[in-house]
């Protein structure tokens, strides 16, 4: 192993610009892959947030009796399409209002619990059930009106919100995946070209090793180690750059998205996520290096 490592380092020292080019391309690739991974995670979290937060609020008529409210709560609780059913009394509604208007005490002083309707809030297992469930809830005798909380601005219906979110997530995943594939393909080709050039310049050396009984594995080892070194350095630089950027941007992102947990809240969570990412990228990087060097070696030896 020592002799292969030494040979690999010698190759790198002999052609530093080729080594730099390979490392640079791989660093960019893994930087983009890391950023896309974070984006995919965050968009997934965003979608999950909207899918799981209390989306539907059934405002109850004032004359609704506790028995009727309890019966509706039970009925909704038993519905497999519905989850997180929660009853909000008039007093709780007032307190939520006061909390929301804490910066303007005048607004809260002018209201009393009587003007706020009691309500039942619930989430849906899947937003595709929304329209049916809302229609059914509207038909309940004690329900005055039904609203939903998901809204991104210009959407008028829950369907619009869901469609837009799903489209965004799809764009991120498909677009990001395509970009990652293109970059990974480019890195693969760069590795094949550089390792191929290395093999061509080493033709005499390969011949000597062949004649003294070196196995193909022995001959290939320094080449594979060299490619693996490029990949590992590229992965580390790309990953570290992303980690630094994400850590730098986290306070701003958390304050912008508020309660939406687009990134893990604590440093441990972020490091855990990045740890998994690093492991996956090392695996992909080594696979690229192995495949690229094997292909380059077999092409040169076949000539």
């Amino acid at each position: 192993m020592y002799i292969h490592l030494k040979t690999a380092f010698d190759y790198i020292k002999r052609t530093p610009f080729q080594a730099l080019a390979a490392t640079f391309v791989l660093s960019i690739t893994f930087f983009v892959v890391s950023m896309l991974s974070v984006l995919v995670y965050s968009s997934g979290q965003l979608l999950r947030h909207f899918e799981t937060r209390p989306q539907v609020i059934a405002f109850l008529k004032d004359e609704a009796t506790p028995e009727q409210i309890s019966a509706l709560q039970t009925r909704l609780g038993d519905d497999s399409r519905v989850k997180n059913v929660n009853y909000i009394t008039k007093e709780q509604a007032l307190s939520i209002y006061k909390e929301a208007t804490i910066d303007n005490p005048l607004l809260s002083e002018l209201v009393s619990p009587s003007i706020f309707p009691a309500s039942i809030e619930f989430s849906l297992e899947d937003l595709s059930f929304a329209e049916t469930v809302i229609d059914e809830t509207k038909k309940e005798a004690i329900v005055d009106s039904v609203g939903f909380t998901a809204n991104l601005g210009s959407e008028n219906t829950l369907g619009d919100v869901v469609t837009r979110l799903r489209q965004l997530t799809l764009y991120v995943r498909v677009g990001g995946g395509a970009l990652a594939l293109i970059l990974a393909g480019t890195s693969f080709l760069v590795l094949v070209v550089i390792i191929g050039m290395r093999m061509t310049t080493r033709r005499g050396e390969v011949e000597i090793l062949d004649l003294i009984g070196a196995t193909p594995g022995f001959i290939r080892s320094p080449i594979i180690i060299e490619a693996a070194l490029y990949a590992l350095i590229g992965v580390f630089i790309g990953w570290l750059t992303t980690l630094i950027l994400v850590l730098y941007a986290t306070p701003s992102l958390v304050s912008y998205f508020g309660e939406i947990p687009i990134l893990p809240k604590d440093a441990g969570g972020i490091l855990g996520m990045f740890g998994i990412m690093l492991a996956a990228e090392i695996f992909v990087g080594l696979a690229l290096a192995l495949l690229g060097s094997m292909l380059a070696v077999s092409r040169v030896r076949a000539r």
Partner: protein
């Protein structure tokens, strides 16, 4: 140890080796002689399984090397030390590292390398030049490194293709003396050369080739089988 039976090798229309047969016993020192183009190098390459003959068989320790599978060739070659006219040294490696390579190939523990390399470099008289690069050595010294590399794995057979071809007489003589020395220590040596002076000096068995055919084999061994 080696038995070549009716081996034929062509390159297109050109017959490089034609119906060649001979035997080499263990511990022998045999010269393969002939002018340029006689087929000496082709014969050595056939023995090393660099080429595959169109016809005939080559036995090494009773194993037909023409029947070896690709994956068996490296372990076969590891049993043979080879010295080339153009040395074939790794130019970016020191003398010591060049000699270490075969040890790495046959997976000798690294702890043993230094002692083994020192012994061999001492044998070929290059102890003081162990850390030098090939570009800093003379032709004779390069050939000694090549020989040291061939000997480091303690092969039963050493093959040399024109090892004195690029050397002056005095240097060539000293190299041949080294081959004689290792032959006396029990190793079988097959040396291809066109240098009559060397052959005459050592008086070993000669297999003479011309146009790919054996012209004569010294009667002492009388085991060379001439083509019919």
């Amino acid at each position: 140890m080696i038995k070549v039976v009716s081996v034929t090798k062509h390159f297109g229309e050109v017959s490089a080796v034609e119906e060649v047969s001979f035997e080499v016993e263990e511990g022998e020192f045999v010269f393969i002689m002939g002018p340029s183009g006689a087929g000496k190098t082709t014969l050595l390459k056939l023995l090393l399984r660099e080429y595959l003959p169109e016809k005939g068989q080559i036995f090494f320790d009773k194993v037909d090397v023409t029947q070896l599978k690709d994956k068996e060739i490296p372990s076969f070659r590891q049993k043979i030390g080879v010295v080339f006219q153009d040395y074939k040294l790794l130019s970016e490696r020191t003398v010591r590292e060049n000699v270490e390579v075969p040890l790495a190939v046959i997976k000798v523990p690294q702890a043993e390398w230094e002692a083994r390399v020192d012994t061999i470099l001492n044998l070929v008289g290059l102890s003081k030049k162990a850390e030098m690069f090939p570009s800093q050595l003379s032709g004779g010294e390069l050939q000694r490194v090549s020989l040291a590399r061939a000997l480091i794995v303690n092969p039963k057979l050493v093959m040399a293709d024109e090892p004195t071809g690029n050397l002056d007489w005095d240097t060539a003589e000293s190299i041949v003396e080294l081959f004689e020395k290792i032959n006396k220590e029990g190793k079988t040596v097959i040396m291809a050369t066109h240098n009559h002076a060397i052959v005459d000096k050592l008086k070993n068995r000669v297999i003479e080739l011309k146009d790919g055919k054996i012209l004569k084999g010294k009667p002492k061994e009388s085991k060379d089988v001439h083509p019919s």
